[in-house]
């Protein structure tokens, strides 16, 4: 990639071509398949926690052991779930989306999506499925 210091800007056609390519659609699908449901999930879990704290304080005050109650444990659970989701996302990105993104960026830098140069994209199907 070093030789492309003075990079020629990509043309709108190249962007359209890259966007329409199957590998990009796969990249987008994989990104969204993780990020969107996970966002809904952690927001729902957070809202559940907020609603329980607001409208079910007695339940939250139920003692589990010693002075530690359900509310404290669910609160700490929010910390744990945040750390776990962070880890899952990094693992997902590293394994499922980064390889496609890196490969596409490399090809874009070499202007392989310029009109007329298509047809070499089949190698991506292999790149896209590994991992």
């Amino acid at each position: 990639m070093t030789e492309i210091k003075e990079r020629r800007l990509l043309t709108p056609e190249e962007y359209r071509e890259a966007q329409a390519s199957p590998e990009f659609q796969e990249l987008k699908k994989r990104f969204r398949a993780f990020a969107f449901p996970m966002t809904v999930a952690f927001l729902a879990w957070y809202l559940l926690y907020v609603l329980l704290s607001t409208y079910a304080p007695d339940f939250m005050a139920t003692s589990v052991f010693g002075n530690v109650n359900v509310g404290i444990l669910l609160g700490l659970g929010q910390f744990v779930s945040t750390f776990v989701i962070t880890h899952l996302y990094v693992a997902h990105a590293g394994k499922r989306t980064d390889p496609i993104a890196d490969e596409m960026r490399n090809r874009l830098e070499h202007h392989e999506y310029a009109p007329g140069t298509r047809g070499t994209g089949s190698s991506f199907d292999q790149g896209a499925t590994r991992g």
């Binding site: 990079r7 359209r16 966002t39 404290i72 910390f79 750390f83």
Partner: protein
């Protein structure tokens, strides 16, 4: 406990020691800032530290930016006084980072150059959208600045033995002047180093206090909670939710509104977004958010111990009666544990916190004005190489002066810090986040949708605050003697955030304007693959 705090005294500890530690921090950071300034040549240096900050460093700097005085003093204090309800704040502040990590950080790093408006205006008509984004950036930054400067004022009363309005105002002026120097001399690189040093000191100080407190309770969480419950004000259950927000249906609804604003606000804070542009690649942006999440999460766990520890060892009545009231819990605990030395360290760190956060906000506001309004809208991109940075520096001085004025005003109005920060989050979540999400993920989104969402969210949010009990009609209002409040909630997020999402959609479907398909293709491909992303500056 009460006896170490002579009732008639207005300060705790030794002001001279507190000032000495703070002065040492200022001296060290100024030297580093001057050294950092040698490499400040281009706009990318000034706004984005040459994009040379590593992911780890940036993670620390983000934590430094985010863990403001509201986090350190406000949350610990709220836990000490209200127990569980204070803990709820910190959870919202933390979970919010997942929105930034999953949906925003990397995509924005790949598409923008310096500011939030770079992304928002990417596929829209430049002039109107940039102007709107710059206005909301300035609005959020000023709200946040107001909170920090109010915090600075409250701290001096407590820690430096400065009393009297004139002396307090002078302290605010000193803080403001120092902050202007950091920004003018160091630019983003200097500011980043200040944030890193401050975050390290803050987390180390919190670690010491946490370990010390836990040791006193035999490293038994249950015993610590029991100690806090024993000391709690009669009738307050500090271990269960509801002490602060469970009073009636309205306070409960208010809490839900606050919770929504907290979780959606972070990813719309311009000074947080701007930090993503200081790293070389999107992967470094990801790494920095991961670091930030761990550091911030661990810090809030420390705050839980510090807050309950202050409740148990100092006692809520002593805290409430101390100058600085709820914000004094952490310093009072430090004094209880380690006497004047630990208090001096905590006080110095708290000041450093305010200084660093204020510097970060100032550079964001000045970058937005210079890059978005001056260079792109007024001059239509036709500016000499250094013209933009020059304007940014002038703007930084103006913003600094405004924040000094606001700080003196906030000090005299006696506004609550954590609460003001929550309002800044509400403005960010209402005016910025919906447009960011639509821009990045919705093909059909148009200029009209962006404008309706930004202005609609901003006006609704600020308008509802003006007509809420925060400003008028209550004992604790800004203007307690008049009453023009008709909106019952103290945090407007519950109404203004959904409204802004709705307006963005409505503005888009109600226009005949076609989305800019080529630009959408460019945005998507750049955001997802990183092609064409701004590179690091080689020195």
């Amino acid at each position: 406990m009460g006896d170490v705090l002579a009732a008639e005294s207005t300060t705790i500890g030794t002001p001279a020691l507190n000032i000495a530690i703070f002065a040492a921090f200022v001296a060290v950071t100024l030297v580093i800032t001057f050294r950092a300034s040698r490499n400040n040549k281009t706009a990318a240096d000034y706004y984005a530290a040459g994009r040379n900050i590593s992911g780890t460093q940036n993670g620390l700097a983000i934590a430094g930016d985010y863990l403001s005085a509201a986090s350190f003093l406000g949350i610990a204090g709220a836990i000490a006084l209200y127990g569980y309800d204070g803990f709820l704040y910190s959870i919202g502040f933390l979970v919010a980072w997942l929105v930034a990590l999953l949906l925003v950080a990397e995509l924005m790093r790949n598409t923008a150059r310096f500011t939030m408006a770079d992304v928002l205006a990417f596929r829209m008509r430049q002039g109107p959208v940039r102007t709107a984004a710059a206005i909301s950036t300035l609005a959020v930054s000023l709200f946040y600045l107001l909170a920090q400067m109010a915090g600075a004022g409250a701290l001096v009363t407590l820690l430096l033995g400065v009393t009297g309005e004139a002396a307090q105002a002078l302290t605010v002026v000193v803080v403001g002047a120092l902050m202007i120097i950091y920004v003018l001399v160091g630019g983003m690189r200097g500011t980043t180093y200040v944030q890193i040093i401050k975050a390290t000191l803050l987390i180390a100080a919190a670690l010491v206090m946490t370990a010390w407190t836990l040791a006193l309770f035999g490293f038994n969480l249950s015993a610590l909670l029991g100690g806090a419950a024993d000391q709690a004000t009669a009738g307050v259950d500090v271990l269960a939710p509801g002490a602060q927000y469970g009073v009636d249906d309205l306070t409960r609804l208010d809490f839900i509104s606050l919770a929504i604003a907290l979780v959606l606000g972070t990813a719309g804070l311009p000074h947080v977004l701007m930090r993503f542009y200081t790293v070389p690649t999107a992967k470094d942006a990801r790494r920095s958010v991961v670091w930030a999440i761990w550091l911030i999460g661990i810090f809030y766990l420390f705050s839980l111990v510090i807050g309950y520890g202050a409740g148990a060892l100092v006692g809520p009545e002593t805290i409430a009666a101390a100058p600085g009231a709820v914000n004094s819990a952490a310093p009072l605990l430090a004094f209880e544990l380690g006497g004047t030395v630990l208090l001096g360290i905590v006080a110095g760190v708290a000041f450093a916190t305010i200084l660093a956060v204020v510097a970060g906000l100032t550079i964001t506001a000045s970058a937005s004005f210079a890059h978005d309004v001056y260079a792109s809208v007024i001059k239509k991109g036709d500016v000499p190489p250094n013209g933009e940075v020059k304007v940014a520096r002038i703007t930084a001085v103006v913003v600094g002066a405004i924040s000094i004025g606001l700080g003196i005003f906030a000090l005299q109005a006696g506004l609550n810090i954590a609460f003001l920060v929550a309002l800044a989050f509400a403005v960010a979540a209402s005016a910025n986040l919906p447009t960011i999400i639509y821009t990045l993920f919705w093909r059909r989104f148009t200029t009209q949708g962006a404008l309706w969402s930004i202005y609609g969210g901003l006006i609704a949010c600020v308008g509802l605050i003006i007509f809420s009990p925060v400003v008028s009609g209550g004992e604790l209002s800004l203007f307690p003697t008049v009453d023009f409040a008709w909106f019952p909630l103290r945090n407007p997020g519950l109404v203004s955030i959904p409204l802004s999402f709705l307006l963005g959609w409505l503005g888009t479907v109600l226009t005949r304007e076609k989305p800019d398909e080529p630009k959408w293709a460019e945005l998507e491909v750049r955001a997802m693959t990183g092609i064409g992303a701004e590179k690091a500056v080689a020195h």
